[in-house]
């Protein structure tokens, strides 16, 4: 992944608009948060392979990172804290935000094909 270039990512977001696409959306502070710090809360949510069709989407800069909102006919997909992106060899737009130690905090990914459990082609 590399640092988000807003105009580049905006173009990818536009390309997926008005198509049936699959979304991976996730936020996490890790399963061990309250193990290492009693006062911390474990919070997290993910949705994998939600099928949506968005009218349009926008990426907005917040200075340090970015927010992305996708407008659906009946709702929204939203993520905050995104800083890195990759348009991978499977034609998927991957976006993520990491903390100082490089741990993932948030991810929003868009693909025309379902996200797989184990990728079929790049078997080790």
């Amino acid at each position: 992944m590399k640092a988000i270039e807003q105009s580049v990512v905006q173009e990818y977001i536009n390309k997926f608009a008005n198509k049936d696409v699959y979304i991976h959306l996730e936020t996490t502070n890790g399963a061990y948060a309250s193990h290492f710090d009693e006062k911390a809360y474990n919070v997290g949510a993910f949705i994998r392979n939600a099928q949506v069709n968005y009218q349009h989407g926008k990426i907005v800069s917040t200075g340090g990172s970015f927010r992305v909102g996708l407008k659906l006919d009946l709702g929204w997909v939203y993520a905050e804290g995104l800083s890195d992106f990759e348009f991978d060899e499977h034609g998927r737009l991957l976006m993520a935000g990491h903390d100082r130690e490089g741990r993932l905090m948030v991810a929003l990914e868009i693909s025309e094909k379902p996200f797989t459990h184990e990728a079929e082609e790049d078997e080790s």
Binding site: A31, Y32, D88, A96, R103, A107, A119
Partner: protein
């Protein structure tokens, strides 16, 4: 049980659980000539650590972790079998099916000892869920044919609740192998190993890694 060929089955949900939690004990068994198989529940594909500096992303992580696991297994001279579940979801799997799946593997391997997480003291929900499923699986096996089950407890309150563990191994003789196994999990272990190196070798954390301890699970009908 001396006449019987021993087989240690390690059943944890994530690549690296075996290295952090039991690789000293695994090495001890290997040195005694006991075959060891690691049944790894998931590929840890929802892990937060992406390498440091970051080299993986959510969609490539499982691939790195699979390779790392194979490397750790080579270092420890053990076999690995993947159970094929998805990280973070084990507690939501139908528990009967999960237990049956494990029972079949346990019987297939003729396991004589199993190491898994102590249900309720595993900290990570996958640890608790798989430990619980192991108990259920072994309960499905007729008494007399059941392997011993050794539970690895992680949570901070485990000793307060459970008392002294039944097995306490000083794994200093196997430290090099343990460290190599941990280091094989590049995407996950970097931060951890740096932490260890920075720390005073007498620190609690360092000492914790040099001791591996387990509780023997008592089945009511044993």
């Amino acid at each position: 049980m001396n006449h019987k060929q021993k087989h240690l089955l390690v059943i944890f949900p994530h690549p690296d659980d075996e290295s952090f939690g039991a690789s000293g004990t695994i090495s001890k068994f290997r040195d005694e000539g006991v075959p060891v198989t690691y049944l790894c529940g998931t590929l840890g594909e929802m892990g937060r650590n992406m390498g440091s500096p970051v080299f993986a992303n959510r969609e490539t992580l499982y691939n790195f972790r699979k390779k790392e696991l194979n490397q750790a297994a080579r270092n420890l001279d053990i076999n690995v079998e993947l159970l094929g579940y998805r990280d973070k979801t084990l507690e939501f799997e139908p528990s009967e099916e999960l237990a049956k799946h494990l029972k079949d593997r346990i019987e297939l391997h003729k396991a004589t000892t199993i190491i898994t997480h102590y249900p309720g003291y595993g900290v990570h929900p996958d640890h608790d869920a798989l430990g619980r499923a192991v108990v259920k699986a072994v309960e499905m096996i007729e008494p007399g044919f059941r392997p011993e089950v050794w539970m690895h407890a992680i949570s901070n309150d485990s000793e307060k609740d459970l008392g002294e563990p039944d097995f306490i191994f000083d794994i200093t003789p196997y430290w090099e192998r343990k460290e190599a196994a941990i280091r094989a999990h590049l995407s996950q272990a970097d931060g951890m190993m740096n932490l260890i190196e920075e720390q005073d070798q007498a620190s609690e954390h360092y000492q914790r890694l040099k001791t591996e301890q387990f509780y023997r699970w008592i089945f009511p009908t044993d």
